[in-house]
Assembly symmetry: C2
Homo-oligomer: 142 residues x 2
């Protein structure tokens, strides 16, 4: 495969990737919120993402349309089965990437920031490579 052909593959996926990123961030946040506080409301997401409640509201609408979330007006959010699954997968990736960054010597704060961005672009193969690395322990590297 040529270099430019590879790039084509990636970029033909870029748009839909971006569409999925927000969904993953939201369901992850919703799952966290439900776990830690028992339920999740739009206002919790407003605090998380630092966007206006209108933006949150409409993003939730898209999540509902896409089958990740169910809501009734003025009621807390609930994840569907698909939403829960997506949240778990997203959180798992996130955690592995975070730990991996820590392992290669990135500071906690930066690891937290970068893992948020990176997690959405890590394929199963790369994730597996990171896991292998983590299992070896940091003694191997340092």
């Amino acid at each position: 495969m040529t270099a430019s052909k590879k790039r084509q593959n990636r970029h033909s996926r870029t748009r839909s990737d971006h569409a999925t990123e927000l969904a993953e961030d939201y369901v992850e946040a919703i799952a966290d919120c439900i776990e830690s506080r028992g339920s999740c409301r739009a206002v919790d997401l407003v605090k998380q993402f630092q966007v206006s409640h209108v933006t949150v509201n409409r993003t939730i609408g898209r999540l509902q349309r896409d089958g990740f979330v169910v809501t009734e007006p003025y009621a807390p959010l609930q994840l569907t089965k698909a939403g829960t699954k997506l949240a778990q997968a997203s959180r798992r990736r996130h955690e592995i990437v975070y730990q991996f960054l820590i392992e290669i010597g990135v500071g906690e704060s930066t690891a937290a920031t970068d893992s948020e961005g990176i997690e959405h672009h890590v394929s199963p193969e790369t994730l597996a490579a990171m896991q292998r690395f983590l299992k070896k322990g940091s003694g191997v590297f340092y």
Copy 2:
């Protein structure tokens, strides 16, 4: 810093990050194209990114507006100083991430794909960690 506070930081940057990603991809591609073929036309980018020529055209317009590219109607594209700088930085990050993925055992094809997505989310600190890792050689890990 709390976990949710960290997330806020990342997400408050997400939108502008996305805006920058495309710019980086474009200037990188333009720089590659100029190097390999002597000049770069919109049609070359159409092939690279697999989007319509109209989309390319308007993206170029934004790049020009933002000072990364100069064009005259029906003429090849040129990078400004800022554009060249951005392209170099982008390519450097890209290359380090790619080599790093290879080093931890990711296959070439996947490394190419994932590095395209990851490069935009790697902070200088994480990039430095990856470089340290590369300098140690793969013998340390395998």
